[in-house]
Symmetry: C2
Subunit: 146 residues, 2 copies
Amino acid sequence: MEAQKIFVDYLKQNDLKNTPERMVILQEVMKLDKHFEAEVLFEHIKSINIKVSRASIYRTLDLLVQCDLVNRINFDNTCFYYETTMNKSSHDHFICTECGKIIEFYYSEIEKIHKNITDKFELDISEYSHQIYGKCKDCKQKKSLK
Amino acid sequence: MEAQKIFVDYLKQNDLKNTPERMVILQEVMKLDKHFEAEVLFEHIKSINIKVSRASIYRTLDLLVQCDLVNRINFDNTCFYYETTMNKSSHDHFICTECGKIIEFYYSEIEKIHKNITDKFELDISEYSHQIYGKCKDCKQKKSLK
DNA sequence: TTCGTTGCAAAGCTTTTGCACGAAT
DNA sequence: ATTCGTGCAAAAGCTTTGCAACGAA
């Protein structure tokens, strides 16, 4: 189902009002990259000459999280990141602490682990975060030459 | 090796000073429960009538993270949590997004994945972060009752 | 004596909130 | 006419930082 319809229905069902601000925010959220910050969304909307306050950004993001159109995730304690739930694919990241290089990888075992833990503890998993930090091949070699 | 020796050595090797505040903080960190907040450590030390400022708590925790005696973890964006690394096998966390409950778990497959990726990309892994977010059994049931 | 360290308070940042005005139904 | 939403600015809450006094080496 289309995101906008889901959101409008959600608003209606909860006696919330359909406002221009809310519609703009949903529309622009859908255009952003996978993991975006509230501030990025705010700046983005400002950049297309639409005026929406930061408060409305945060409040509307909360609503979008409520109706499962958006996930709010917690990456590094600097701020929350948001991502749309539509078309989401899973992969993890290796981040080189020397040069910042990122390697994406995917192992089906991760999903098996999640399935296993879901069953064992009767959980309902919505999101996960899996990062590996260290030195990439190049930086490892540079380091050992010293 | 004993934590205190590791810390003292670390300080010496980095031309940092061995101060009473740092020693107290290390000592009391070791007494705390698994996942504690900086504020809890601060209050704990105050409660035993030792005077250490919040700033020193934060600065010393950073040092302890630097020398791998403590991990700094990020569960819910409210604050950082810390845990000692001594005598602790690696484990990951499930965090309930409704009630904040934390479940620790360990799967050897994670290590296999890391070994595999290390070999494949010739990496040097120093740390990783793996959190799963969702609803725990109780909160899942509460939600479905509505 | 020399620097690193401490405590304090202020600043920094992201997110939330109180309030008066404005808009949707 | 209600009632909810918005913008603004202030508040919140955790963490970091600037600075002067202090203390370890």
